[in-house]
Symmetry: D2
Subunit: 330 residues, 4 copies
């Protein structure tokens, strides 16, 4: 790990301060002994992620609004907190895994206002939120003297349980190096996406593409079947042709094509319609704020929103095929 | 090659007739000597395809409305015709490669009405047309006593030149076997998609997916870049994630990501916007006639139609990125 | 009524022929006595239209594939036919009211091939079909020596019953004058839209706008209600503002806003989803053939197609509100 | 004006407080003498609105970030301020006319934190913002002891200049009565839309419908013209038919149909593409937060966003016709 050169125009005392921050990062990064890790948000994702960190030998300091969720980690040896600022004071790293923009922003305000920020602490937000919110929180944490990176994940609940998540990290190259080892305790692929907010940006753009691919594939499979093609034959043709995608290869939405896909079990499990809809909502928001045209992304968002309105929020997002196909005879 | 059992309810003389047709197919299929092959339509695709067949030793009988196109093949040894019925009379196989529904339908009417159909001739239409038109032509050719299969291609002009096309064949299993060897003289992958029209159906559904993927990718790349992501970094993330597709891996629409992609040379070459628009038009037509909802397919069609209106018909279809990206400052 | 000047370059005998045709038109147009009127297609629309013509004193000659439909008119005094060519021979005017492109084309082929075309007969097709098909039929009828105009209607079954239909006529100014009086027996507004096919073009473009307005209004009403607005208050605001449309003023899709609208009676009656979907299909086809971008029209088409797939073909097209609104709690 | 009955369960002192608030409202509403009116935001809209209030005899207290804008009002007799809290202290009513959510929220925070809120002051925000932001600001102002209503406008710069704006007011019935007279000094139609935020909700939903109507009309006019219809003839047909809308009657996007429409002067003036895009952005945001499907609204948003990307932000939003029509030959 090579640190970037110090800012040339810094004054002597600024340089000393910079050196201190860098050496702190170095020490935490290189020392492979157990750390004090705060974990905020112990839901379907956060719970198993925190457990995996404990399995690596780290000391966990945990918070959730649900007492049951905290007790579940306490039983494995974690310290529990009623106050996120106190939790932060006790931690070298703090990982947050929270449901939305507002809760992330409020949580960090509470930590900062409660005096929970220490200069050597690295905050890692693994929630999926608006990149602009991530940037704003980073600024506040930095102003309070510590480090903050965004590191949203893909891989879902199975990835959280099996420590096979992908982390998309937004921060400096040094900060990326400083969090990599810790994140490897919860995932198998840690990607550096760019500066602050770029982890969130990468996730939201990738997932917009995923939603478009799945809706498009659902339309194509339905049309192919209605034109008389055998579903399996056509799926194989697509996978050997220019129409192929992750969706077509791994999560074909037609029941019976891929035995392990959610379509085979009435669209249970997988990546919930509610979650892709949330991600597409973030995509819409950042497309609006950056004035970027996303015609297919916006339409896909509306299609998934219609599925939500029909009560399909908890089904795998491949259920869009079931929604589009005719329930009436030809 | 195992032939299907004869129709059980056939009378004796019907069975004899069936046997004769099958044995004709067998003879033509197994005899690997040169054939008399008619070729109708010698454009950017048909010209090189016909040349490849000549290179395999076949005797070519060719027709085109352009005298220059015919003369070009004549110089290589082909016999030229002014009349497609006469051409068909001289041929064991006839391959047609024509621009649209109406021209295909008219050409086969002319052949049939001109007495060009012999019972042992196999007609192979490699044009990209509406599956319903292909089915209708098949019925007429069959009624006139011969065999007709649809076999549209993918791979574009380079595939035609290098004999690396993919053929998507619609017909019976026996008919597929009967045309396979000949088509291998022009392509490297010959797929059996199902009954009559299913070659066309497979092509149009695959290409609808391709158009959706490309438009979606263009939106995602543009959004990612405007959010501050490095284009190359984000392209790599997508290709390692759930957003990946043929488009993202082979034909990324942002200049500079893939050196061999059309985006690198001002969207020259590749798969023309005019052609994907045509294919999406066929998709729209068959979706209407089969009452199949194709929200993203229809929107993609409109986007490409708008590009056509802006004079981009001859650019590679990845030019949609250039169309969507802001020409104004942020 | 002022006739256009005769073609200057016509020869003497051509001029005589032209004069004869014009005087025929004049005679039929000005003579207000009863005519022999053929009527082909006696369904929900055609049946009452034919009855209204009888009520005006015309002698009706009718055909339908349903014997019951014919018998119903026979009971009122119409002559019935098994053969449309024979029907045409007996008629001064022939009105056709048929379900789709193919049936219209086949019917006129049968009339022409059966020798049913007399030079003084005026054929009026009131079916809703592709403008290009209308043009093609006009050419054939003209080649056979008679006159053909397209005159699709709006106003639905109530308009057919009450003789309050709007007719959109495509033909020359003289032909428009020649058919106006007869059509006034079935409608109250007879519009001249332009040359051959332009009646169909006007209908399909107007109805595409209607579909877009209704879908858009359904979205807006649903959004307004979910944001907390009172539906009636918001409907009044829209009607007094820039968002107003025929749909908002006459056929608001939210139950309870307009007592006479189909929404008030579970979307029964009105303009069926199946019919607007058919019209949007024609719009898509002509937009494809003329390479005209119709992003909202195409999306509206797909939305209505999805409603069809959900079994809503017979409900008024305002049922799209019911489809979009959440069935789940907020 | 009839006030609502007092809250029945209120204690004696609460009732006294309520009575005082109501009587304050009454006094301000009924006294028709000149008021002290604060005005924040003196741009293209706010400037003329403030001038109109001065013309009615009110004493104006004005703020803008532009000194020129303030000086322009000062020359007419207004008092100018560098501090919005001081401005508010001097005012009976405060009208704000600001560009976006964040500036509105910041401005009211500054007023509240600066001690500018007096119990008898009525704040009227005429900016176009997210209804949820309006609700949040109302809560803060109420908590600080004063009254806040949202009252966005339609009518554009001409309406602002000629005092013919429409105001859409969100607040209680009494509050609506209390602001009505003042607003009549700037507009000719003052609508009560419902509780807090409902003025904004009504505006955004109406304008979403307006955007959809205009895009749809542009498609239909373009398609009609390409099919061969005369633009003026078709426009008249639509206006007499079910496709009619405010857009078709008042702002037809085809040059030459309506002499007073922006289309007649190269899309100058009118309602800017940048503004409808902003409104559609708010619609998208509230549709996301309320999980309401808006397929056509979202697509219209993307189309206008594409126009923005092409540098058309300052053209009237009917320029979408010019964007869609073919620049290439048919």
């Amino acid at each position: 790990m090579a640190f970037r050169v110090l800012t040339r125009t810094a004054t002597g005392s600024q340089q000393q301060q910079q050196l201190k921050v860098l050496s702190d990062l170095l020490i935490r990064s290189f020392s492979s002994g157990p750390k004090n890790v705060g974990f905020i948000g112990l839901g379907n994702m956060g719970g198993p992620m925190a457990s995996n960190l404990m399995a690596k030998g780290h000391k966990l300091h945990v918070f959730d609004i649900s007492k049951d969720a905290k007790d579940s980690l306490k039983a494995k040896g974690a310290a529990t907190y009623d106050n996120v600022a106190e939790l932060a004071k006790a931690s070298d790293f703090v990982v947050s895994m929270l449901p939305n923009n507002d809760i992330v922003a409020d949580t960090y305000d509470t930590i900062i206002n409660g005096g929970g920020v220490k200069s050597q602490t690295i905050f890692i937000d693994s929630s999926t939120i608006d990149p602009n919110v991530a940037k704003a929180v980073q600024k506040k944490v930095k102003a309070a003297g510590a480090t903050f990176v965004d590191a949203p994940v893909s891989g879902g609940v199975p990835g959280a349980k099996n420590a096979t998540l992908t982390f998309m990290v937004g921060g400096t190259a040094d900060e990326y190096q400083a969090v990599k080892e810790l994140l490897e305790g919860m995932g198998k692929k840690i990607t550096h996406c760019g500066g602050y907010g770029m982890g969130q940006a990468a996730k939201v753009c990738n997932n917009m593409m995923l939603g478009i691919s799945m809706c498009g594939l659902a339309e194509c499979m339905n049309l192919a079947i209605r034109l008389g093609l055998d579903a399996k034959v056509f799926a194989d043709i697509v996978n050997a042709s220019t129409g192929r995608s992750w969706a077509s290869e791994v999560n074909n939405p037609v029941p019976g094509i891929i035995p392990t896909a959610p379509a085979a079990s009435d669209y249970a499990g997988g990546f919930a319609t509610g979650l892709i809809t949330k991600d597409l909502g973030i995509a819409s928001a950042v497309a609006t704020s950056s004035n970027s045209p996303i015609p297919l992304g916006a339409l896909t968002h509306q299609i998934y929103r219609t599925l939500m309105a029909k009560g399909l929020a908890n089904k795998d997002f491949s259920v869009v095929y079931d929604f589009l196909k005719n329930t009436e005879g030809k």
